[in-house]
C-alpha cells in the first residue's frame, strides 16, 4: 500500500491529476471527519476539505515522500480549521443537542452509525468552552485516535504542550458530562 501510495504521489508531483483524484477519494473522509469535529458545520467542513486538497495539490512538489502523507494533509487541514474558527463565529449549543447526546449515551443500539447532524450536536455539546488548541488536540488524540507523536508533528506543539492541552480538554469534558448526569467511574 505504501509503495503504491509513493508511486501515486510521485505521479502527482509530475502533475498527474488522475493520480491526485485517487488521493482525494482515499483521504477526503479522513479530512472531513477532522473538519466536521473541529468546526461543527458540514458545509464549512466540506469547504475546508476542498481547500486542503487544493493547497496540497499546489504544494505537492515540495512534499517529501519520506514524511507520512496523512500527517502532511492533517497539518494543512488543521491550520485551515484554526484559521476558520477565528473568522467564523462558533454556533452555540442547542437544547436538542443534549437529547442527541443522551440518545447516543443510552447505548440502546451500539451498532448504529451516527449521522453527521448527530456528530455536530455531540461535538457542540462536548467541546463547548474549550480553547482552539485544546479542541484540536482533543480531536486528534481522542476522537481521531492519533498518537501524541503524530499530534506533535501535525500541530507543531511539543510533547509537554500536547499532554497539557489534552489533559485540560479531557478534564473539561469530563466535568461537563458529569454535570449533565453521566457517571465518572
Amino acid at each position: 500500500m505504501i509503495q503504491i501510495e509513493d508511486e501515486i504521489l510521485t505521479r502527482c508531483q509530475g502533475g498527474d491529476k488522475a493520480a491526485f483524484r485517487w488521493v482525494v477519494q482515499t483521504y477526503q473522509r479522513m479530512l472531513f471527519s477532522l473538519a466536521l469535529k473541529m468546526l461543527a458545520d458540514e458545509e464549512e467542513a466540506k469547504d475546508v476539505v476542498q481547500e486542503t486538497f487544493i493547497r496540497a495539490w499546489m504544494a505537492i512538489r515540495s512534499y517529501n515522500l519520506q514524511q507520512p502523507f496523512t500527517s502532511w494533509l492533517y497539518t494543512i487541514a488543521s491550520r485551515l480549521c484554526l484559521n476558520r474558527m477565528k473568522t467564523v463565529k462558533e454556533s452555540a449549543m442547542q437544547p436538542e443537542d443534549l437529547t442527541v447526546l443522551h440518545r447516543f449515551a443510552s447505548g440502546d443500539d451500539t451498532q448504529r452509525k451516527l449521522e453527521n447532524d448527530e456528530w455536530i450536536a455531540i461535538v457542540r455539546t462536548l467541546a463547548e468552552g474549550l480553547s482552539e488548541k485544546q479542541r484540536l488536540v482533543f480531536t486528534l488524540c481522542q476522537l481521531e485516535g492519533l498518537s501524541s507523536e503524530e499530534a506533535e508533528q501535525i500541530t507543531g506543539m511539543d510533547a509537554r504542550q500536547i499532554k497539557s492541552n489534552l489533559y485540560v480538554a479531557r478534564q473539561t469534558i469530563r466535568k461537563r458530562l458529569k454535570d449533565l448526569g453521566y457517571d465518572e467511574d
Binding site: S33, K37, Q50, F104
Partner: protein, 230 residues
C-alpha cells in the same frame, strides 16, 4: 453509560461525506494546472558572468596601477637613453666605410670608357643604404623594416638620402639624436597624472565597468529567456 465509554464509542465512529463523488468532482474541477517546472539557469552562464566580472575587474585594477606608477628613477631613464648610441656609432662606422668603396669603383672604372655620370650615380647610390640605416635607427626598428624601405625607395629619394648622408658625414661630431621615446609626454613612465586626472580616470573606469555589468546582465537575462522558451 460511563464517561470513558462514551468517549471510546465516539472514537470508534467517524462521520462520512454524504456524497463523496460530488465532493471529489468539486475538488477536481477547482484544481489548477501545476506550473511547468522552470529549468534552473544553466550553471555555466553564472560561471561565465562571474569569471567575466572578475577578469574585467582585474584588468581595470592593472590599468589603474599602471597609470599611477611613478617613474622608477632618473638613472633608469638615463640608462634607457644610453641604449641608443651604439647603433649610431655603428652607423658612423658604416658611413666611414662608404667612401673607399666609391673610390674603388672610381678606380676600377678609370681605364674604361665609362661615363663619369655612371660612376657618380653609383657613388651616390651607396649612401642611400646608409641613410636608410640611419632612418631605421631613428625609428628603432629592425633590419627587415630597413630592407623594405630600401626596396621601396625611389631613385630621386635615394639621391636626396645620399646628399643627406654626406651632410651628416661632414658634421662631426654627431649630436645625440632624440627619438620619439625621448619626448617626455609620450613616455608612460614620465607621464605623471594630476590627482584630478586620476579621479576622472577612475570615475570613467567605474562608469564603464557598470555599463559593462549591465550589458552582461542583459545578455544573461536574454539567454535565460531563450532557454525558458525552449
Amino acid at each position: 453509560m460511563k464517561i470513558d465509554e462514551i468517549l471510546s464509542r465516539l472514537q470508534e465512529q467517524q462521520p462520512d461525506v454524504n456524497n463523496p463523488d460530488e465532493l471529489t468532482d468539486r475538488i477536481m474541477d477547482r484544481l489548477p494546472d501545476l506550473p511547468t517546472e522552470q529549468p534552473k539557469p544553466a550553471r555555466r552562464i553564472r560561471i561565465y558572468i562571474l569569471s567575466a566580472i572578475a577578469a574585467a575587474a582585474s584588468v581595470l585594477l592593472l590599468m589603474t596601477l599602471h597609470y599611477n606608477e611613478e617613474p622608477t628613477s632618473v638613472e633608469a631613464v638615463a640608462g634607457s637613453r644610453q641604449e641608443v648610441p651604439p647603433p649610431v656609432e655603428a652607423v658612423t662606422n658604416s658611413r666611414q666605410e662608404v667612401p673607399p668603396s666609391v673610390e674603388v669603383v672610381a678606380d676600377s672604372r678609370q681605364g674604361e670608357s665609362t661615363p663619369v655620370e655612371t660612376v657618380a650615380e653609383s657613388w651616390q647610390r651607396v649612401p642611400a643604404s646608409v641613410s636608410t640605416v640611419n632612418h631605421s635607427i631613428d625609428c628603432g626598428q629592425s633590419s627587415n623594416r630597413t630592407c623594405s624601405i630600401e626596396e621601396s625607395t625611389a631613385p630621386d629619394e635615394q639621391i636626396e638620402y645620399a646628399q643627406q648622408a654626406n651632410r651628416v658625414q661632414q658634421a662631426e661630431p654627431l649630436p645625440e639624436m632624440l627619438t620619439e621615446r625621448d619626448i617626455p609626454i609620450t613616455r608612460p613612465e614620465n607621464y605623471k597624472y594630476t590627482p584630478e586626472e586620476i579621479a576622472l580616470m577612475k570615475k570613467q573606469a567605474r562608469e564603464a565597468y557598470l555599463k559593462w555589468v549591465e550589458l552582461e546582465l542583459e545578455i544573461a537575462k536574454y539567454n535565460q529567456e531563450q532557454v525558458a522558451q525552449y
